[in-house]
């Protein structure tokens, strides 16, 4: 019997992740009632879809063993992590103290994701973008974005 060799590592991992997602969804949909085919309950479609996703994952795993394909490639972590952190920074600062702080802070964190960033330039630019956002979203479109909120003192 020939040894099974992984010919498409990317597909293998992709398929395995789908199976993992499917198992997770099956677990999450656990307590839901499936009903019957003619009268589906809330759990029928999620469960059915999870099984289909899992099936597609298994098929991908099969393909990865049978046919040559992509390698996994590089997985740089620093850039994406810092972008995500930047978004989180925004989320945590937008209500208090508001956009005046959230905007520049998020942009500076995002800036750390690229080696090309020139800090002084970005710092100035970030205030400019924040001002433009304030003008666009708040003044022009009347959206209730907190601009500067210091509890008990300023609400803008």
């Amino acid at each position: 019997m020939a040894r099974i060799r992984v010919q498409a590592p990317q597909d293998l991992v992709a398929g395995a992740s789908l199976v993992a997602v499917a198992l997770f969804a099956l677990w999450a949909a656990g307590p839901l009632d499936s009903g019957r085919m003619g009268a589906p309950g809330p759990g029928l479609l999620p469960r059915f879809l999870a099984l289909m996703v899992g099936g597609a994952g298994l098929a991908l795993v099969g393909v990865s063993l049978a046919r040559p394909g992509e390698s996994l490639g590089r997985w740089p972590v620093r850039g994406p992590a810092l972008i995500a952190l930047s978004v989180v920074t925004f989320a945590l600062t937008i209500r208090v103290p508001g956009l005046v702080v959230a905007g520049p802070a998020a942009m500076l964190v995002a800036g750390a994701a690229s080696p090309e960033t020139r800090w002084k330039e970005l710092a100035i630019f970030s205030f400019a973008v924040t001002a433009v956002c304030t003008a666009l979203f708040r003044s022009l479109l009347h959206l209730p974005i907190p601009i500067l909120v210091i509890p008990g003192w300023v609400t803008l």
Partner: protein, 325 residues
Amino acid sequence: MRPSLIVLAVVLALPLQGRAAYPERPITLIVPFAAGGPTDVVARIVGEHMSRTLGQQLVVENVAGAGGTTGSTRAAQAAPDGYTLIMGHMGTHGAAPAVYPDLKYDPAKSFAPIGMAAGTPILIVARKSFPAKDLKEFVAYVKKNSEKLNEAHAGVGSVSFTTCAFFNSLVGAKPTRVVYRGTGPALNDLVSGQVDYMCDQIVNLVPQIQAGTIKAYGVALPQRSPALPDVPTTKEGGLPEFQVSAWNAIFAPKGTPPEIVKKLSDALTKALADENTRKRLLDLGADLSDKAAQTPEGLAKLVDSEVARWKKVLASASKDAAPPR
């Protein structure tokens, strides 16, 4: 880079908060439903006049979700300073405790009632081709054929869901309840005859009834609605027990100072006495006859009785409901 200077200027020019008479800045009126719906329309019409009385803008903020309970929860947890109010309705401040077992607020205990803005009467309507000429025939037909009939509603906990549950339990009908995401799609399928009947707020239905695309069998009011004078009341039609209204009322968070409640309540009373505001509400089919509930005390009583009523109705409705298909 000039714009950074602009930001600085804006920051420096910030108005500092001082002590002044209420209200000294715009008031947020949370509408726990999407803009454009019946509650939203009432809120905006009443809010417009109240803004003039109070000298500050009443800004409507739509916080939709989970049958209005998302917005109501937010209002219940807001600071009781009179700057956050909510336009609650029969669902959020009446039926919700019976529909949502883990509700994060208590309609009676978490709020300081201000007053009812407008009632919106409930109509019983059916597809154009429904074989009944009046409410009596309709009730008889539904009783006899309910297992074959499809009733449309706009989601668990919605006005159409709760009021029709009440109707069904009154006449002892067990139709298949077909759910839609909102009144619009449900109405669409009623017009095209895919479903047989539904109960809903008059505001949504007036134009369809006038155009004859659906049939109205009864309005749940003590007297006929001026918006649809040809539609008999449920009392005339032999179903006097069916008295429901999707009332809309303004609440403040519990703990709001009484002088602020008074100020708001006075502004509301003034708005509801205004000829133009009244006309706009009445044209929509709204009901302004319940004077008692327009006061904080009257509204508190209404909330208590509604919570008790829907608890009973919906408990018996789920007991009587047709077994799972």
